[in-house]
Symmetry: C2
Subunit: 158 residues, 2 copies
Amino acid sequence: MRHDHRVILDETDRRILAELQADGRQPWAELGRRVAMSASAVVERVRRLEEAGVVRGYRAVVDPAAVGLGVRALVRLKYPTGNYKPFHDLVARTPFVLEAHHVTGEDCFVLTVLARDMRHLEQLTGRLATLGSITTSVVYSSPVEGRPVPGDDETPGG
Amino acid sequence: MRHDHRVILDETDRRILAELQADGRQPWAELGRRVAMSASAVVERVRRLEEAGVVRGYRAVVDPAAVGLGVRALVRLKYPTGNYKPFHDLVARTPFVLEAHHVTGEDCFVLTVLARDMRHLEQLTGRLATLGSITTSVVYSSPVEGRPVPGDDETPGG
DNA sequence: GCTGAAATCGCAGGGGT
DNA sequence: ACCCCTGCGATTTCAGC
């Protein structure tokens, strides 16, 4: 659970990470079978990966549309000041903001937002617009989503 | 595992989803304790949530920086034509593209990209730039990340 | 990293409200 | 529709090697 320092992974570690990103709930015994190790050995490796901060946890993947949040949007925010307090306060009490990234470029922040419908999105963006100038892009579809973090040596023809 | 049609969730379902998004690997017995139900009852509910497409799976959360991918960027792509084949082909064989969203606005696509370092990012964006005009924003930090999908009635003072 | 034994869990079947 | 209990096989865990 400590630092973010680089960790050296061998081939088995990478296979374990790929497996756990594909199915985070499979039994250790099953995972052991897939990477050709005993259950106890695989558990020890996973424990070390967690300890090293490589594996940060396990999460169920929930489909927003299935729970009534059918609209997804990316909101870019041009934030005028260096006082980030109002920004943090607003996103902290707005659970529909799934992500907020501080980025280079003209737009200081990029947010990923979920909304029930366009009316709800209008309301959410209205609140965000009190912080600064925003640009909203509504997501039509996501051709790529939920890809696993690749192993650090992966370079498949490109 | 069926359609994306709306599903009606009660309070218990929402608590289950919150728990499984916080720790997707906890034993059903433990989850039952937390929502005050027997293990078998909680398993039955989770099975139904999976069946309905609300829970799409379980994934380990891997820290990209810990495996040597210390750079994250958002790449906006102004795609000139309606022929999406070259785009899909390129992202399909580029595992460092974690997400690709088709969005409204001037930029047709927004991609989330991981890279080992700036040199690697330069290489990746160079490839993407063959498809169309791009705008790259490098992520400094992510004040909000990995938030759970909120219950559909959540409106906490905001 | 492997084995082996005890505790725990997962999974079906059956039944109650 | 929803929930609980029981039984058995599989899994987890922790010891020692």
